[in-house]
Subunit: 283 residues, 2 copies
């Protein structure tokens, strides 16, 4: 339907240049990201067609190629696609370069211990927020709204909203415009509603979201900024609504803020001490 806006070689609003002569790689990566973002349930061909906007035969052919390369695999009983062994192995190879997750371990554990609820560490990746770590507390009713590796458009979850709502106005519009088409997949979300949630979060100074999906659940989110002040990641806590009264929320936010600042301090120190080997250090 909506033909992909692919001006050859022209930069889009986030400085991400779509190169010419790489259509199929772009498409393959699109499918790969979609699968990576739903890897515990896997995705069917139709799902991937829906998400990607590709034609059925095109998606199918690319998926077949990705399977042949071990980048994904297909469960032959339910036809669903999952990440493949090569992805796992390459992930191991890449681990040492991406240290944010490691650096946050103690913070996350402290939060989980202190609150009893489930904590998430999200990082921004272009228009998405990726969950890269989760720790659950001791409270017996868990709200596992996200699995490690899950990807959602920025602003959909509490963590993503914490990032989005702390960006520059112009970037917020650019992003919300970019992800608009995907929002209806999440609750009855749309661009207008998203922007109003952004505004509310900005006024409040933190994020308080209903957890989309079944049952009652709420989540609070707080951003983590890099040395330039840009929010590039976020902490969030999810719990059942009954544990998310106004007073307790304030307490949770205070804990998140404290640990976020803590992480920012650690990162800044390392940034200074460590030679800048590669472009962006923590993502």
């Amino acid at each position: 339907m909506t033909s992909r806006s692919r001006e050859s070689g022209s930069p889009n609003d986030l400085g991400i240049i779509a190169p010419k002569g790489a259509q199929s790689i772009q498409r393959a990566a699109l499918l790969l990201r979609a699968i990576a973002g739903h890897n515990r349930s896997g995705l069917r061909l139709v799902d991937l067609v829906d998400i990607s906007g590709l034609e059925i035969p095109t998606a199918h052919r690319i998926l077949k190629a990705l399977v042949a390369e071990n980048l994904i695999k297909q469960n032959l009983t339910n036809r669903r696609y999952f990440l493949g062994p090569l992805m796992f192995e390459a992930g191991l190879a890449a681990t040492h370069e991406f240290s944010l997750r490691d650096l946050c371990q103690e913070s996350l554990q402290r939060i989980a211990d202190r609150t009893g609820d489930t904590v998430f560490l999200n990082v921004r990746r272009d228009y998405e927020a990726v969950c890269i770590e989760r720790k659950d507390g001791s409270y017996p009713i868990k709200v596992f709204s996200l699995n490690v590796g899950d990807r959602r458009p920025l602003g959909v979850g509490a963590g993503g909203m914490a990032i989005l709502s702390n960006l520059r106005e112009s970037e917020i519009f650019s992003i919300s415009n970019h992800i608009a088409a995907l929002l209806p997949r999440y609750g009855k979300l749309n661009e207008k509603l998203l922007l109003s949630l952004v505004k509310r979060s900005q006024e409040r100074g933190y994020v308080l979201h209903k957890v989309s999906g079944l049952g009652g659940g709420k989540a609070v989110g707080y951003p983590i900024r890099n040395s330039s002040g840009e929010p590039f990641a976020a902490l969030s806590i999810a719990a059942i609504t009954s544990r998310m009264g106004t007073a307790r929320c304030a307490k949770l936010v205070a804990i998140l803020r404290k640990e976020a600042l803590n992480i920012e301090r650690i990162i800044t120190q390392r940034d200074v001490s460590k030679s800048p080997v590669l472009g962006n250090r923590y993502n």
Copy 2:
């Protein structure tokens, strides 16, 4: 095994079908694997051209596309390519599916503790052996011939040779033929020499290899078999030559054999108890 192979792409003999209409994805994956296999040093464009056999502009264009998709990144001071953040994040998402590494932790630790040397866990992936875990012992002179994530043609290292030399004759020839062109990159290896090393390993019942590269070092390797008896992974130990006399090697092999059997037992148990959700369970 109906292989309907057109002239494009080489029809290979391992049942891995090269799909039609996916040339560029195949090539992208080739580059991705190469980078994943050398991710601590990174690779330059020329290296990748050399390894892949692609034309320079073709490789360059594909790499640019992969960078744009966050699958790889380029260090702009030395132009080298490394795995990108998406690869790391997807690796996290995939982790829960690939449990071999976890299952082997105790075994590897025991070996490292008992020997004081460096232990490696390798798994077979088509024509390559991938190092998915490493544990170093207490002995102060370390032989880190491999980093986690490194990939080499089957048979090049002790682990890979332990796998290769335990495969069916026909498969050995098929593989050695396939990787022949890549062998000169590793010491002064070639197909003939490789096959003679296979024979020697088969006669000995285990692998004893010189570690290619600088300085003196040797490694012993032993295969891990799945419930069908196929060697799909391997354990190996590397140390300086002076620690690799005949007597000690025999001792090391005994330790490896014991732990390999141990791992095989664990895997078989899980294979039985666990429902076969996805195709191949441990890789």
